[in-house]
């Protein structure tokens, strides 16, 4: 991204420690206005902490967070005007749905009539108009999360922050809410960060994915970029499946000393052919409908091979030959730094 172009939200060297644990380790990231970004990574990698730092719910140990060139450190969560949706819906149990949505507007001292209009508008937006006077415990989990979304969006926040908003819901509700959140985000054009550990969710919803590991960013890019051009071994293994070539026999022909970089290829890129350069023995066969996944032992390691639309049966113990197309073998950094 060209220097000098001012970004909407910028994180620079953002760091947070808990005792000796480096929860977030010098993170740099730029978001443009209206973008939908997902923090993706395994549990404990620091996604929530990073989001909470942006929200102002945690205090930065180092670094700065800028919103349109303004440093936010020192500005408490209350004054940031960011909408936050938590994993546990955290609706106020003593207030009705309507009062929950009105809460942020009352804090901003909006006029009564204006509040009422805005609450109605938000209720329509999340299709909960007829539930305005109910209390949170009378609603299903999915409905509660929609109220939480409406409550966060009502005060017209400049950024929307979502911490695993769907992970407490069952699969079917999750599916429909994914679509609903994406659509809302696009319609309102609000800059959004969502935390998730579910790669499908991230790939389906996000404009850009921030892959995180151990408090650091491993790679930032679109779902396609992360899948086709993983920069690090971690990203390759976390998003989709990948074979890391360790046997010297399989690495032959690809330069570079082993250790510093890993050579890797996705299972669907390995080509089975009658006169392939490598041969191996089938150890596992999994038939998955239109695809078949083979575990093949070759050169002392196991290689996963995915085959599409093949009719002929394979059996454990069969010998197969295959090629590792050079343009499909990727050189992955062991870590981002």
């Amino acid at each position: 991204m060209p220097l000098g172009v001012s970004m909407f939200l910028s994180l620079r060297g953002v760091t947070r420690r808990f005792g000796s644990v480096l929860a977030v380790d010098h993170v740099d990231l730029d978001l443009s206005e209206g973008e939908f970004v997902c923090f993706l990574g395994p549990s404990g990698c620091g996604k929530t902490t990073l989001l909470r730092l942006v929200a102002g719910l945690e205090i930065l140990d180092e670094g700065e967070i800028l919103l349109e060139e303004t440093d936010l450190s020192g500005l408490p969560a209350r004054k940031r005007n960011f909408g936050v949706v938590f994993q546990s819906y955290s609706l106020f149990p003593n207030l009705t749905v309507a009062r929950n949505i009105a809460y942020g507007l009352e804090c901003r001292k909006w006029a009564k009539a204006k509040i009422e209009a805005r609450v109605g508008e938000m209720l329509d937006l999340v299709h909960l108009g007829q539930h305005a006077e109910k209390h949170p415990h009378e609603l299903s989990g999915g409905m509660q999360q929609r109220v939480a979304l409406a409550r966060a969006l009502a005060p017209e926040p400049s950024v929307l922050l979502l911490d695993e908003p769907l992970s407490a819901l069952d699969a079917k509700v999750r599916e429909s809410l994914r679509g609903e959140i994406s659509e809302l985000q696009r319609r309102l054009g609000i800059t959004t960060i969502m935390v998730t550990h579910d790669q499908d969710e991230a790939m389906e919803m996000a404009d850009r994915i921030v892959a995180m590991n151990r408090g650091r960013i491993e790679q930032v890019g679109s779902a396609e970029e992360l899948y086709w051009e993983p920069a690090t071994r971690f990203v390759g293994e976390f998003i989709g499946r990948i074979n890391v070539l360790s046997a010297s026999e399989l690495r032959a022909g690809f330069d570079g000393p082993p250790g510093e970089t890993a050579l890797a290829i996705r299972p669907e890129h390995v080509v089975l052919s009658e006169d392939g350069a490598h041969s191996g023995t089938v150890r596992k066969v999994a038939f998955l409908g239109n695809t078949m996944r083979l575990g093949v032992e070759a050169g002392g390691q196991e290689i996963e091979i995915e085959v599409h639309g093949r009719r002929r049966r394979m059996n454990v113990g069969d010998t197969v030959t295959f090629d590792l197309p050079a343009d499909r073998v990727r050189r992955l950094a062991v870590s981002s730094r």
């Binding site: 220097l3 000098g4 001012s6 910028s10 620079r12 740099d28 929200a55 102002g56 719910l57 700065e64 800028l66 060139e69 303004t70 440093d71 936010l72 450190s73 020192g74 500005l75 408490p76 969560a77 209350r78 004054k79 940031r80 005007n81 960011f82 909408g83 936050v84 938590f86 546990s88 955290s90 609706l91 106020f92 149990p93 003593n94 207030l95 809460y103 942020g104 804090c107 901003r108 409550r151 966060a152 005060p155």
Partner: protein, 558 residues
């Protein structure tokens, strides 16, 4: 990546949340220092300061008197013997309630808690009617039992401390892992063996905790020993004798320190145990549900009824004696003791109720406020604040009361403005029972998830608004329970406030003491009945109001 663009800092105006935090923490700290630390300091100062300077002279003078050494010995004798007895009796009772299928558990439980609703001297009063010189037993059977002295204190304090031990042991016995019992049974262990190897070890923290609590209660109790101790004096009574009888404040302070030490040690021990106990609970255990076993259930029922009758008899005989013409000579029914035509008449009861209401209101604001401040604003000062908040648990009432005289009874200083009013009595009550109220509130505040606070903050609410709109609506049953607890304590307490009353701010519990002292036993009984009736009526009314408001499941007595 370094972008050289200059950045603008968001404004760093004094944040209202920070101001609110500094204010609540500061105010709480200031109040605790004023009403706990300064009185304690006054006691220490007075015990060490002599006309010749600072030193141990006062203590040397104390221990030079053989009588005083006996008093220390007496205090420990009563403390240890009552602790052991109460533990055994209460353990059996709690076991019967939690681990058997005996009938009438609810009623038995309420009877076991009865002593909490009455001033500590009521047990001794009842014992006088029952076993005193002209008591029921001596007159009926022609015996000559002399109850004044060790045995009087022993029995009345055992009854007084019983509910406290029962509550702790009952909680300890309520949590049990059924899997342990099943495996012990399948291994062929008999009931006695199971009890020794599974039940007893499983409740050892509860037992230790109850032991410390009972010991503290007994050595610091004033009401029962002053009524039935006779010549057998204990430290708490001795403070009273030195201060009220001889105006010897230095000696009072010395005895105060002597009483403070074991009490503080016992409370420290209890806190230490409580922390271990918490760590030993696991979430995966399978709860134990007692199965019916007629022979065992009947045996435990018989035991529990016996204990309950013993407790009940002391209360019942006080009520009975309040309605007879002249105990024990004329037992015809009479209401004349309820005319209260002596001293200030019924006025002390109204004063007590006013004090109790003021105490409850102050506690609702300042004790729950302290719990909130400690929870919501973690600062470097928080640990100190927490320590100050639970410190009063280690301070015997007599010591706190004397501390108030020594610290505040000097014209010209701010607290003197409320001295000799019911306000100082209410404040003393609030800080006397601060630890219990604070822990009750803290436990409940901790249970509400912090995401409500955070959600509220991200929506733009100040902490003050969050408290008002979110926190309070969620914890008000606890706030109410704190108020009820302090109301009850204020109605029945005797020890701290006895030093703070004046003729115009006389309290009901003190009236019972004075009437008893003058030999007006029937009137003392009537006054005691009024106190108990007020406490029970208050509880019933509050519970009823909650019902009418459609609120259920609020536990007011804890």
């Amino acid at each position: 990546m370094s972008v050289g663009a200059p950045t603008v800092r968001a404004s760093r105006l004094p944040d209202s949340d920070r101001l609110f935090g500094v204010f609540t923490v500061g105010a709480t700290g200031l109040l605790l220092v004023t009403f706990v630390l300064i009185p304690l300091w006054a006691i220490l100062k007075n015990s060490f300061v002599t006309p010749e300077g600072i030193g141990l002279d006062n203590f040397a003078r104390y221990f030079a008197d053989a009588r005083f050494i006996t008093v220390v010995g007496n205090t420990f004798e009563v403390g240890i013997s009552v602790t052991l007895t109460t533990l055994v009796l209460a353990y059996g009772f709690a076991y019967a309630i939690q681990r058997t299928c005996m009938p009438f558990k609810g009623v038995l439980r309420i009877i076991a808690l009865l002593p909490v609703f009455s001033p500590s001297l009521v047990q001794a009063l009842g014992l006088q009617f029952l076993l005193g010189r002209n008591g029921f037993v001596n007159r009926t059977f022609g015996t000559e039992i002399d109850i004044y002295g060790f045995w009087g204190i022993f029995i009345s304090d055992a009854v007084y401390a019983f509910p406290h031990a029962f509550l702790i042991l009952s909680t300890a016995l309520a949590v049990a892992d059924a899997r342990l019992y099943e495996s012990a049974e399948t291994l062929g262990a008999g009931p006695w063996r199971i009890f020794r190897t599974v039940t007893l070890p499983g409740t050892r923290y509860g037992i230790a905790s109850a032991a410390f609590v009972v010991f503290t209660i007994v050595i610091t109790d004033f009401g029962n020993p002053v009524v039935i101790g006779g010549n057998y004096s204990v430290l708490a009574v001795e403070i009273y004798n030195q201060v009220s009888g001889q105006a010897n404040f230095a000696m009072g302070a010395v005895i105060g320190v002597l009483l403070l030490l074991p009490a503080a040690l016992a409370v420290t021990g209890e806190k230490w145990i409580a922390r271990r106990q918490f760590a030993s609970l696991t979430s995966q255990s399978v709860p134990l549900v007692p199965r019916p076993n007629p022979a065992r259930d009947i045996a435990w029922f018989a035991y529990s009824v016996l204990v309950a009758l013993a407790i009940l008899s002391l209360v019942a005989i006080v009520i009975y004696a309040s309605f007879v013409r002249l105990w024990p000579y004329n037992l015809s029914f009479s209401l004349r003791h309820y005319e209260f035509d002596v001293q200030n008449g019924i006025q002390p009861l109204w004063t007590s109720i006013s004090v109790a209401i003021v105490t409850a209101l102050l506690a609702i604001v300042f004790v729950t406020g302290a719990a909130y401040a400690n929870h919501a604003f973690p600062m470097r000062a928080s640990r100190i604040l927490y320590f100050l908040a639970i410190l009063p648990a280690a301070v015997p009432g007599m010591v706190l009361g004397l501390g108030y005289i020594l610290a505040f009874n000097t014209p010209g200083q701010p607290v003197y403005l409320i001295y000799d009013t019911i306000l100082i009595i209410a404040v003393c009550n609030v800080y006397h029972y601060h630890a219990q109220g604070f822990l009750l509130a803290t436990t409940n505040i901790k249970q509400i998830s912090s995401t409500f606070d955070e959600a509220s903050a991200t929506l733009g609410a100040t902490k003050l608004r969050t408290v008002w709109r979110v926190t309070l609506p969620m914890i008000w049953p606890t706030v109410l329970a704190v108020g009820v607890f302090f109301f009850m304590r204020a109605m029945v307490t005797l020890s701290a406030v006895i030093f703070l009353i004046t003729p115009s701010t006389q309290l009901a519990a003190v009236s019972v003491l004075y009437l008893d002292d003058r030999g007006a036993l029937n009137q003392a009984a009537a006054f005691a009945v009024c106190i108990m009736a007020t406490v029970v009526a208050f509880l019933v009314l509050t519970q009823l109001a909650l019902r009418l408001a459609g609120i259920r499941g609020v536990n007011l007595v804890r």
